[in-house]
Amino acid sequence: MTETKITEEKAMPEAGPVEPAGEFAAQKPNGAAARKVVDRVTEFGEETVGEVRCENPFVISENVNVYYGDNHAIRDVTLEIGRSEVIALIGPSGCGKSTYLRCLNRMNDSIESARVTGTITLDGRDIYSSDLDPVALRARVGMVFQKPNPFPKSIYDNVAYGPRIHGLAADRAELDDIVHTSLDRAGLLKEVKDRMDEPGTGLSGGQQQRLCIARTIAVNPEVILMDEPCSALDPIATARIEDLIDELSEDYTIVIVTHSMQQAARVSRRVAYFHLGRLVEVDETDKIFTNPQHKLTEDYITGRIG
């Protein structure tokens, strides 16, 4: 997926200012000067508008850049994500939001040409430091993908997969317990408890995605990354997943990439708008949707950029 997005980005015209800086300056509220970092919109619009800092930050990115070979996919992203916060990453396709998401659990590592600069810390530890194993990181930062991707195994084995590889369960009873709890939390237990031995691929799309969520929470992560988790689902299944995200937000920090602004509005507390590899604006969800500061954000949420 990531690779196709890169090509899309390549095909796009080089990023440039859509509007002269004067207009931004005029729109800028006075209170902005008091904010920590972003108090100035340059001619090129390179600084992030809004509030990149938050209370009780858990995942902190500072000046993150991602390169795929010569292609500069993410430019200078600084963002704090709070504990037990749901933050939505939005933006037109190819804007780098998925790439950024995959930086947070080092899924970009497996792409040979990918290079990440800047720092990302999780609970104060640099996740790109050499003494941190991505395996341990991913146990703490789980991920749910765009297309439901249950393994070609039974429902039980799908959920038990993570606990098994990490050795989280001491015995079979404990494993059973983890599987049941996880399925329950994902709201799937009732539907599948009589057919735990059937293949996970036999479930409906929405059920498959909830199975993947159950599979993720079975590892007991602290952060869950969701890469457009509902884009392959019908509206009813989407609604169930959104409810689920809402419930999970009590215990987990959730970063969700979405195409749908309605979805972002429904599930998230904060929203980050990405454009051509830049983080353009971050703020409380209400603020972004009612009173965007940046012209690009406004264009996007009013549908002028698709």
Partner: protein
């Protein structure tokens, strides 16, 4: 929840070292496996070159031969077919080593020179009868044992009884070397002669020509038929059980052991159609059946890669289906078809098992001059020589293999170049 999280983090951290070790072991075994193939290839080529390179050289001995009329034409008449040219060589050798006496010792001496020397003299006299009576200094090929000694393939230090060349002969060779009467040159006989019982006379020309004629038959049959079959299956065949059957059948034929094709050739072409045994024609027929699936599969893939938009555009202009295929699809798919054909041909060139079945394994001295002359093929020549016990044949086997691999490499490079040059990106 929080407490159990800390707990699971500890468990994960605790297991990491063990899992990293497993990971490293898995990775190392993968690297090892890849190395096995590559190392084998290296050892293989090194052995081959070490054994075979010397076969491209041949040792020659300089002799002063007196074309004495008394030996060649004792009764005053010169009959080239019966004249004792070998006697001239023997005389020359005796003159070179005057102190060798005794029948058996002299016989040992004569063995230094290849029997080819006599033929060489005959050809000289045949070309220029005025040589009769004169003395000329000529280079004649040494016998294979001398050749092996010079190339270091026979160790003169080991016990005399263990080597095919005795101490006296070694001494003579050394004396020849001291008198500058011995040198190694490029072995042209390897490329100009047919097979022979004498290693120093044996060449691959017969086998090369046999392979050449066979490949001509193969390409003339397999390419048009393969392309036609691929066109029919891709463009015209209705999707039915019949076309499914053909499909399965072609895929399966591609995996049928080649020796079974040999049985087919023996039963159908030789016993039933009474075509001649050992003929390149029959070999070519068998090989074309063998390569047909390869060509069909490659051609179908090439046709599939032509985008449907081209067909639709041409159909939209009112071209018939047949015109679309022959005017638009075929030219675009041709590079792929050619590549597939060359790959098929290189497979045919390396194939030997089915040829054993149809009698192309005979000892044939003459270079074949046509499609029905008895012939052998390059890989079969390798098989035949590999069976010979003489050390000199092992060397020539390696040389024949080097030539064979050279041809295969050229063909495959050609395929790659065609693919690179004519490839289109859609």
């Amino acid at each position: 929840m929080r407490a159990s999280r800390k707990n699971s983090r500890e468990i994960v951290e605790a297991g990491l070292a063990r899992r990293r070790r497993k990971e490293a072991a898995f990775r190392a075994s993968g690297m090892l496996a890849t190395a096995v193939g590559v190392i084998f290839l290296g050892v293989f080529f090194a052995t081959l070159v070490m054994q075979g390179a010397s076969a491209f050289k041949q040792t020659f001995i300089k002799l002063d031969v007196e074309m004495s009329a008394s030996v060649l034409a004792p009764d005053g008449k010169l009959d080239l077919a019966y004249a004792d040219f070998d006697g001239l060589v023997r005389n020359a050798l005796r003159k070179e080593f005057p102190d060798v006496s005794g029948r058996s010792e002299r016989r040992e001496l004569y063995r230094l020179v290849s029997i080819a020397a006599g033929y060489q003299l005959r050809d000289m006299v045949a070309a220029d009868p005025s040589l009769l009576g004169s003395t000329s200094t000529i280079w004649v090929p040494a016998s294979s044992n001398v050749d092996m000694l010079i190339k270091g393939n026979i160790d003169p230090e080991i016990d005399e009884s263990l080597r095919p060349i005795n101490d006296a002969q070694v001494a003579w060779v050394e004396s020849l070397q001291e008198n500058d009467r011995l040198e190694t040159r490029f072995n042209t006989a390897l490329f100009t002669n047919g097979d022979s019982r004498e290693p120093e006379l044996a060449g691959i020309r017969g086998a090369l020509m046999g392979s050449f004629y066979m490949l001509i038959v193969t390409v003339a049959l397999a390419f048009p038929i393969g392309v036609a079959a691929a066109i029919y299956l891709e463009e015209f065949a209705p999707r039915s059980r019949w076309s499914d059957l053909i499909e399965v059948n072609i895929n399966n034929l591609a995996a049928v052991p080649s020796i079974v094709f040999g049985l087919l050739g023996l039963a159908v072409f030789i016993n039933w159609m009474a075509l001649p045994r050992s003929a390149p024609l029959v070999g070519g027929l068998v090989l074309s059946l063998l390569t047909l699936p390869v060509i069909i599969i490659a051609s179908r893939a090439a046709i599939q890669s032509v985008p449907p938009s081209i067909r639709e555009a041409a159909l939209g202009l009112g071209a018939s289906k047949m015109q679309v295929v022959f005017h638009h699809v075929m030219p675009l798919a041709l590079p792929g078809m050619l590549t597939g054909t060359i790959i098929g041909m290189s497979r045919a060139l390396g194939e030997s098992a089915p040829l054993l079945m149809i009698g192309m394994v005979a000892f044939i001295v003459d270079v074949p001059g046509g499609f029905t002359d008895p012939a052998t093929a390059l890989p079969v020549q390798v098989y035949l020589w590999a069976d010979s016990p003489e050390r000199a044949f092992a060397e020539r086997t390696s040389a024949a293999i080097i030539v064979l691999l050279g041809f295969l490499l050229i063909m495959n490079l050609a395929a790659v170049i065609i693919r690179k040059r004519m490839e289109r990106k859609w």
